[in-house]
């Protein structure tokens, strides 16, 4: 392979690549991210290869396996270029038809297109699907276009040009000035301006400095960093190298979760390729800049996403935080000046250098520039990864991109910022999403988790869920975090079991404040958020649990009973047969009755009762009506005049 020795050679190489590629040649692409892998994209890939061969299309059609497209709920996703025809939930069995119809005849296979659940309209092109139409994909754009295992694909789209520009046309100070002017804020959680962090690391004296990619994404349900690393590792690498050049570092680490095997694989391939092309190692692109990268796999501790814990882990010590100051920019990895940024932050850097700070900062709000990738999950029609400009409203994300709440249910809250984020109620749906606005309503941007909750969600249960997660993920070193979370979880558990006492809410607030103010690191500093924030907006739910022993959302098992309304029950036997506890008495033409002593409150009866009867009721906060007497249980049917 040719070593590229200058910016001119890089450009020439790109032009040579493009001249060999025909943009009008049909190309069938398959999303090969982890989510689609889980829905059998491997089988689809094998089928595509086989079918291209079988139908004699090898010379006329390219096949490319790309990174994650984001619409993971509808995977595996197949897009056929140049038309950009998009097929969803494709199986291996669909491939012969796609090959013969679309690839050969240029006909669209109707049944594989996206159908809008509200209007019933079909969308042929990927960009016509509402989920995509309302996004602005700057960082994610090439995820769907290139094969992450091919550096040539990345070079063909202008890859490493930002690096060349930085190395040959800019001084390190100018790079920092550009990133500062762009006001790029850290995408990992805190939103600290990257340029200021870089500058601090540059100004700290020292020969040896480090740059680190934080790919220890640990929030439940969040996977934007994984998808970027899997789908476009070179862009993260390019950003890292530009940062290293600006700071004066010659060694970099990528700290990546062990649980992300595909990301590790694609990154490792990318590193080897970059080295081969002279884009990594000594005298990069023929310049005087040397840089090497090592991959470090984390063992799966949430706290290691916190930068000082990450450093401890990299040094081979237990993943526990250390105090700041001194900040890593002054005293980081092995005591050397170190700059740590999240995957998405690094991936934004080439955009800024290529397009300039002013283009970048033309998108977004006053304080938050560019786009942000969110992992939109929960009770929303379109789940997946969405990239939107800063400043878009929560309502637009949830209703325009996300397609609203399924099943005609009511929206209750949206939880942003991961386990230590906050739940935002309906009245704030029109706030503009950026670092500062989210903070104002008591939530955080975090790394971009966004969980939509509907009316069937109990906010006490939500707080309990997140505290339970955090009690296991706190490292346990400092007492306010370890003990504070433990005590808060105990109180929440009691409240959810109907054992809450007057004064519990105030006690939770007191514990929350101590944990927030006195903890050693950001995990403890933000751990009380789910509690304090749900109390702030849903205090009435806490009070209902404590005072009335009632769970308004009918979620907390101990506070909910199931009851069969005798006037509605048609003795169909459905619940009786399915009840795992054999708690339902009755029979043919015998109204069914739940034995409350035996009932384990699993909710099966509620789910299986036919919707035309709706006889099973959930009761909370009031006594269950006594069972109707045995002699009144017989149903006398008048149908078809067969009455005796």
């Amino acid at each position: 392979m040719p070593r590229i020795n200058s910016a001119v050679e890089l450009e020439k190489f790109r032009k040579d690549l493009l001249s060999k590629r025909n943009p009008n040649k049909p190309c069938i692409t398959l999303c090969s991210g982890t989510a689609c892998h889980a829905t059998q994209s491997e089988k689809v890939a094998a089928a595509i290869e086989q079918e291209i061969e079988k139908q004699g299309l090898k010379a006329d059609v390219d096949f490319r396996r790309t990174g994650c497209h984001g619409f993971c709920e509808k995977g595996p996703i197949v897009v056929i270029y140049p038309e950009e025809i998009c097929y969803l939930q494709v199986t291996a069995e669909d491939i012969p038809e796609i090959a013969s119809q679309t690839l050969k005849e240029k006909k669209v296979v109707d049944r594989l297109l996206y159908v809008d659940p509200t209007t019933g309209e079909k969308a042929t092109l990927e960009s016509d699907i509402p989920f995509y139409k309302n996004q602005e994909r700057l960082v994610f754009h090439f995820n769907t276009r290139i094969d992450p295992k091919s550096i040539e694909d990345y070079l063909a789209i202008g890859g490493y040009q930002a690096l060349a520009k930085a190395l040959f046309e800019m001084t390190p100070e100018q790079v920092i000035a550009e990133v500062k002017a762009a006001n790029l804020r850290g995408r990992g959680g805190a939103g600290f301006p990257a340029g200021i962090k870089w500058e601090a690391a540059r100004k700290t004296p020292g020969e040896l400095k480090y740059v680190i990619v934080n790919c220890d994404e640990g929030d439940p349900g969040a996977y934007m960093d994984r998808s970027l690393m899997e789908g476009n590792p070179h862009t993260v690498l390019e950003g890292l190298m530009i940062g290293a050049y600006a700071i004066g570092a010659h060694e970099g680490y990528v700290y990546i979760r062990q649980e992300y095997p595909l990301a590790v694989e694609n990154l490792t391939i990318a590193l080897a390729q970059a080295e081969e092309y002279g884009l990594l190692g000594e005298k990069i692109l023929g310049s005087g800049f040397d840089f090497n990268v090592k991959v470090h796999r984390g063992a799966g501790a949430f706290v290691c996403g916190e930068e000082t814990s990450l450093l401890m882990s990299l040094e081979g010590k237990p993943g526990e935080p250390r105090a700041r100051p001194p900040y890593p920019a002054v005293k980081g990895l092995w005591g050397k000046p170190t700059n740590i940024n999240n995957v998405e932050t690094w991936a934004n850097v080439p955009l800024i250098i290529n397009g300039g700070a002013s283009a970048f900062s033309s998108i977004g709000t006053e304080g938050s520039k560019g786009t942000k990738i969110f992992s939109l999950v929960g009770k929303v029609n379109n789940t997946g990864l969405v990239e939107v400009p800063m400043g878009v409203t929560l309502r637009d994300i949830i209703y325009k991109v996300g397609g609203g709440i399924p099943g005609g249910k009511r929206f209750k809250a949206v939880q942003t910022g991961g386990p230590s984020g906050g739940c935002i109620p309906e009245k704030y749906l029109d706030i503009k999403v950026d670092f500062d606005e989210l903070k104002k309503v008591g939530a955080i941007m975090g790394s971009g988790g966004m969980i939509v909750m509907d009316e069937d969600t109990c906010m006490v249960d939500v707080a309990k869920y997140f505290l339970n997660f955090l009690t296991g993920e706190s490292c346990g070193k400092c007492s306010p975090c370890r003990e504070g979370i433990r005590q808060m979880l105990k109180i929440l558990t009691k409240i959810s079991e109907g054992k809450g006492r007057e004064g519990d809410i105030e006690l939770l607030e007191e514990l929350g404040q101590t944990t927030r103010d006195a903890s050693l690191c950001a995990l403890g500093g933000t751990a009380p958020n789910p509690v304090l924030n749900t109390i702030r907006y849903f205090r009435d739910e806490y009070e209902a649990h404590i005072k009335e022993k009632r769970c308004p959302a009918y979620v907390c098992k101990e506070l909910v009973s199931y009851y069969i309304a005798p006037d509605k029950c048609q003795a169909c036997l459905s619940c009786l047969r399915k009840c795992p506890a054999e708690a339902i008495a009755g029979g043919k033409n015998q109204i069914h009755v739940i034995d409350q002593e035996k009932c384990i409150k699993c909710g099966t009866c509620f789910e299986v009762c036919p919707s035309r009867f709706r006889a099973v009721k959930k009761i909370s906060g009031e006594p269950v009506p006594p069972p109707i007497p045995e002699e009144a249980r017989r149903i006398v049917r008048k149908s078809k005049g067969k009455e005796k």
Binding site: P325, C475, K477, D517
Partner: protein, 204 residues
């Protein structure tokens, strides 16, 4: 190391750059309570009993005095409503584990901490880490360590090392603010030490 001036509890205090607030306060004869701090060990910042209120960099925060470096013109309050309340809650949480530890009781009295405020979970260990750190940093033996994390964190002797090293040392015993360390040691000794190093209670 250059000298700098800061203010602690309204008094001007001279300190050297790189010094912690705790050191600076101690040198001026100002007392800040600690649990997990020890002169011979690297600052740890786990018990947070030494939290003080700090005005620096344009904001007011709670900082662990044992770790936070002094800065010129920094204003420190070692007692305030917020500091006292934080210490009280922290003590109450630790008292749920070791209600009879003298060090905790003494502080509890001072800060009005109620040892029965939280349900007892008598692990007896408050995870100050003095034993673990002393063994690692001073003795360089690592015979006792932390296991697990979060709410499940505990200390544990490593039998293979402990049976070799602890018999003639036991320097960690007096460091422990509760009696848990000794109990943990004796348990390890009884369960896992080789027979020849084990002496019966009667001394025979």
């Amino acid at each position: 190391m250059s000298e700098l001036l800061l203010q602690i509890d309204g008094r001007k205090v001279e300190a050297k750059e790189g010094m912690t607030i705790l050191k600076a306060a101690q040198s001026a004869g100002i007392f800040i309570p600690t649990l997990c701090h020890h002169e011979k060990l690297e600052p740890y910042g786990a018990c947070r009993i030494c939290v003080v209120e700090v005005d620096a960099r344009g904001r007011t925060t709670l900082a662990a005095a044992c770790l936070y470096p002094v800065e010129p013109d920094m204003v420190v309050r070692t007692r305030s409503e917020k500091v006292d309340k934080t210490r009280k809650v922290l003590l109450e949480q630790l008292l749920a584990h070791a209600p009879d530890a003298p060090a905790l009781q003494e502080l509890a009295q001072q800060y009005g901490a109620d040892k029965d405020r939280f349900e007892k979970e008598s692990s007896f260990c408050v995870l100050c880490g003095l034993c673990v750190r002393y063994c690692a940093q001073v003795k360089k033996k690592n015979a006792v360590g932390f296991v697990d994390r979060g709410a499940s964190r505990e200390i544990s002797f490593i039998p293979e090392i402990a049976s070799r090293e602890c018999w003639n040392c036991k320097e960690c015993f007096p460091l422990c603010p509760t009696s848990y360390l000794q109990a943990a040691y004796h348990l390890t000794e009884a369960l896992a030490f080789p027979r020849h190093s084990f002496k019966s209670a009667s001394g025979k």
